[in-house]
């Protein structure tokens, strides 16, 4: 803040900003706090809406973790999210790179076609996906859960924009040095866009980790459920066991936190192309 922005008016503005930020922060963090708090309550205490449990217990965690289904769903979600993330990181960047760095007839039309799919919401695509999965025999398989997300228009668009910031000199130097086109992409261009790759990996992982509608529709066997689908089935079968659902949800946030902690420095660091003129 500049030196000129002090005085009663600026002070009032700051106070308003702080209050708004605090309210926004609370609105986002309270449900999480409540989730963790509920996971530490026993069944009798669940409807007692206190923030701190009267008799904190880890019994719910023991119950959930010793239930083989939960671990299975956790592994399913992890497997699906990891495979889809790796696929997106590879294919989205490959297509983005091609669109950004190669001149070919119809390039703009291809790009527009990819972009236009961004405007179609998942809910509209679910039925065509289902028909496709049924015709190919992919219903109730892991591939059935994963195939719609293996490449995304958003990821392609993001990577294209980042590759456009990579100076052509790098690629041409590599071309003169004797790399083939794939090696130029893999060894030179890709390492230069790691911040974008990290962002794409985080977005893709999170959206697949929390995906609900499509896995719910495409799977029928319980062994193939992903974690969100599995947790929701807790609520349907028996009476709703909120403390167990909250425990499962609390455990489900852990990979998310982990992914963000590992990758955030690449994102925060921003694009630094140190090989260019200083």
């Amino acid at each position: 803040m500049s030196a000129a922005a002090v005085g009663p008016r600026a002070g009032f503005g700051r106070a308003v900003a702080w209050v708004l930020l605090l309210a926004g922060g609370l609105a986002m963090i309270l449900p999480l706090v409540f989730m963790f708090s509920t996971s530490l309550k026993d069944a009798s205490e669940v409807y007692d809406l206190r923030l701190l449990p009267a008799h904190p217990t880890l019994d719910n965690y023991v119950t959930v973790l010793s239930d083989g289904r939960f671990l299975r769903w956790f592994a399913n979600s992890m497997g699906v999210a990891v495979v889809v993330t790796l696929s997106n990181v590879f294919f989205d960047s490959l297509v983005g790179y091609t669109l950004a760095k190669f001149e070919f007839r119809g390039r703009y039309i291809v790009f527009l076609a990819i972009l236009s799919t961004l405007m179609i919401p998942t809910e509209m695509l679910v039925i065509p996906w289902y028909v496709m999965a049924r015709n190919f025999g992919w219903l109730d398989t892991y591939w059935g859960i994963m195939f719609p997300g293996m490449m995304t228009a958003f990821g392609t668009f993001l990577m294209k924009q980042f590759f456009e910031t990579v100076p052509n000199d790098f690629l041409e130097a590599a071309r003169v040095d004797g790399l083939n086109e794939f090696a130029i992409f893999w060894r030179i261009a890709l390492p230069l866009v790691t911040p974008a790759l990290s962002a794409l990996a985080i977005f893709t992982f999170l959206s697949n980790w929390t995906a609900f509608i499509w896995p719910l529709i495409v799977t029928t066997s319980k062994e193939l459920y992903t974690l969100p689908v599995g947790l929701s089935s807790f609520a349907v079968e028996q009476q709703i066991q909120w403390e167990l659902i909250m425990t499962g949800a609390a455990l489900a946030t852990l990979p998310t936190l982990l992914v963000f902690l590992v990758l955030q420095r690449y994102i925060v660091r921003g694009v630094v192309l140190a090989g260019l003129k200083g």
């Binding site: 100076p167 130097a173 003169v176 040095d177 004797g178 790691t194 192309l273 090989g275």
Partner: protein, 353 residues
């Protein structure tokens, strides 16, 4: 090492032709500098030699091979780019070793070559560093190292010093020139800086609008420019160009007629070129073949000499004066040059007479 021969080289972008059928032979081991203003086609020509641009006509030979359709990697050339293009995610050593990407050498031999190149360029202590920890000059040296390590048939430099500050540029000029003397390499070097061209080249190629205007040694171009453009482009400060009339075989410019000794009869309107170093401020009563009178507008002391901008009519003319006792701003002054120092150009075609 090998020479390069270009014949009738043409480049078009859509309907626009940017290189108009140029011919040039670069001898084995020669240092040739392409110089010209932006958009003159010099970089495009270099990139066509490298294989980074397709050609639309003509022929390029490197050594005894026609390389028109060869990929850059198959031309056995090395290129140094304006932005250095050293890879930020690799160490200095890895960057230099990248020049050996297609080489069949084993790891030990590659390492030895990288270390040797590092020693030659004074980078041996920096091989493990990342490019972000290097200065601009060091980065440019890494780029040169990556080119050197391959023993290419020819080196291509695309404005490699334009991102450096003046002092570093002078130092790197010297280093590249010494490197050339040491390696005896064929070098094609593109720049818009005539000082780089003058100081480094065996031969300079002056380009404009996709055509070669003149090819020659630096002193040849300095002494005998083929046209007004080259005359003004080569040499610093820029040559003065003064319009003049011709009457009865003599120049009507200045205090008295200057007799012209030209092979052909001069056209009625000509341009007279005279370098500021040759156009001196005259002392009281001092005579010169060409003498002009004017008012001092600006005085620029440079140490060993002083440049004086003199207003003559509506034209500003640059002359030189002794470092001591330069003329005062606003005062009347006479400037003059020997007839031998004058260059004459046809005012209509701007070609030398």
């Amino acid at each position: 090492m090998a020479g390069i021969a270009i014949q009738d080289l043409v480049k078009r972008y859509g309907a626009t032709q940017v290189v108009h059928g140029i011919d040039l032979t670069v001898q084995d081991g020669e240092f040739v500098v392409f110089v010209g203003p932006s958009g003159c086609g010099k970089s495009t020509t270099l990139r066509m030699i490298a294989g980074l641009e397709d050609i639309d006509g003509g022929e390029i030979r490197i050594g005894d091979r026609v390389v028109n359709r060869l990929e850059p990697k198959d031309r056995n050339i090395a290129m140094v780019f304006q932005n250095y293009a050293i890879y930020p995610h690799m160490s200095v050593g890895e960057n230099i070793a990248f020049g050996l990407y297609t080489s069949k050498l084993d790891k030990v031999a590659k390492r030895a070559k990288v270390e040797e190149v590092g020693r030659i360029l004074g980078l041996d202590a920096l091989l493990e560093r990342r490019p972000s920890a290097l200065s601009g000059g060091q980065r440019q040296r890494v780029a040169i190292g990556r080119a050197m390590v391959r023993d290419p048939a020819a080196f291509l430099f695309d404005e490699p010093l334009s991102n450096l500050d003046a002092q570093l540029r002078a130092q790197m000029r010297l280093e590249i020139k010494r490197l050339h003397q040491r390696l005896g390499a064929t070098i094609v070097y593109v720049t818009h800086d005539q000082v780089e061209a003058m100081t480094m080249a065996d031969r300079i190629v002056v380009m404009r609008d996709g055509r070669i205007l003149q090819v020659g040694s630096p002193m040849d171009l300095y002494e005998n420019p083929a046209d007004v453009f080259t005359a003004r482009f080569i040499g610093s400060p820029t040559m003065n160009i003064l319009p003049a009339g011709v009457s009865g075989g003599a120049l009507t410019l200045g205090e008295r007629p200057v007799r012209l000794a030209l092979a052909e009869p001069a056209p009625p309107r000509i341009l007279v070129g005279v370098r500021p170093q040759e156009l001196r401020v005259l002392g009281e009563g001092e005579q010169a073949d060409l003498a002009l009178a004017g008012i001092v507008a600006v005085v620029e002391p440079l140490g060993p000499e002083t440049f004086v901008h003199v207003e003559i009519g509506d034209q500003l003319v640059l002359a030189s004066a002794a470092a001591k006792n330069p003329p005062r701003v606003g005062g009347a002054v006479r400037i003059g040059a020997d007839v031998a120092a004058l260059k004459f150009f046809d005012a209509a075609t701007e070609r030398a007479l």
